[in-house]
Symmetry: D2
Subunit: 140 residues, 4 copies
């Protein structure tokens, strides 16, 4: 059984568009914060610390499916419920449910990888790597 973490946020005026509702890219901003919050809650050190020891500098997104169920607006308090649905070799499936009290506002299913930087000689950018042992141990 995987654990579920909860990341709480307030919707702000500037998160909303001329229709008065949350402009959708902001949901991905919150989901990304919730993704990292999951690891922090499990005791995984900050990426810049993990990078020094293991080379891993984060868990970039490879694939996402999202469904926008209800609109939200400023003043709303939302909670992102996050869990890991599946572990694969270098990737994992993380799901997020953005709730306003009992009401589902948005949900998404992400495939992310553990990534390390590629050297300049390799052309820069990033590449997927195995989940570091110390992370796997924490996520049990």
């Amino acid at each position: 059984m995987s654990r579920t973490t909860v990341y709480r946020l307030r919707v702000e005026f500037g998160d909303c568009d001329p229709a008065g509702i949350v402009w959708f890219p902001n949901f991905f901003r919150w989901v990304d914060a919730a993704s990292r919050h999951y690891f922090v809650t499990c005791g995984v050190p900050p990426w810049h610390e993990l990078e020094r020891r293991t080379g891993v500098m984060g868990t970039p997104l490879v694939d996402t499916q999202a469904r926008f169920v209800k609109s939200a607006s400023y003043g709303d308090e939302l909670a992102v419920h996050t869990t890991i649905a599946e572990w694969r070799g270098k990737s994992f499936v993380q799901t997020h449910r953005v709730m306003r009290d009992e009401e589902l506002v948005m949900e998404c299913r992400e495939v992310r990888v553990f990534a390390a930087r590629r050297s300049e000689a390799e052309g820069g950018g990033i590449r997927a790597v195995e989940v570091p042992e110390e992370v796997r141990a924490l996520l049990g």
Copy 2:
């Protein structure tokens, strides 16, 4: 045969995260701009003008599937190729391919609706409406 429009952009320093690559919510920012650019290119008036005549204030996102194929960084020039793959009653499927020259960087498939504001009496927010006649005529 649906037409394809191209929306061009430069990746900026502030679009990138501590890994030095585009932070993914920014791709959705560009895809959203490309979505509106499609309608503008087809001759559809700005939403605030269309709203006065038809009540339609935009085409909010209902569902999206996205695949991140290559990382991008500041200095990159990207082109978003956008088309409409399918028309349904109140919704439509729009696809976007974000290219760096001949290379696919990201692609996504969106379901969007034409939406009007709900009155305060109806509880605020938005609701899906039929595609206005004048828009359908322009999109042929």
Copy 3:
């Protein structure tokens, strides 16, 4: 004596740039949220409610001076201390101090106005208006 409100936030990975520190426009995002939080804390209703009764739809920025004292990064917890330093006719001066525990990270001094929408006939956009009586009463 003016009151001071405190708006708390966590710095996220996506708020940081390739140098690994907060990309400065995000500080203005937080300061803007802190500005609205001040009014909410004083009991002023949400702008969309106030607009129905008084026409006021927000307090847009006219002028700002900001000083960036320390860098911040993801994982930091910041508190924005906000007060109103001066009331003028249609405008006011609001100051914000962004703190990390006892350390000053950024500070700014803003001039904002109470604004109402201009009709389409007037060319659209917004115009400054007198502070509504009900707001002045709450801010004492």
Copy 4:
């Protein structure tokens, strides 16, 4: 005589707030892009390249004064006119005028420094450094 560069942009729907006008932190996003564009136009290499040779990873903001003169909305095409008003030891003053055709929309005056990363041993973050010789030569 300092040169002036021009950075062009389109205001998008998602750049605007519930009042239908540009949410002000986005102006700083564009000004930051215009600041980097100035150096690129002068032939200064991308920061990640400059960092390898000189340690300089960018020109973070130390101080800014901004004045918001006119509102802008989606569909507007803006041009940011940028110049360097003054060189100091490790810092410089850069000014930006955001224009819509002949009309001034926003202007700001920034103090920025050339910065290098501080090592982890030094506590991380960044520190101001002298303008690299190769940059000074290009900026004449």
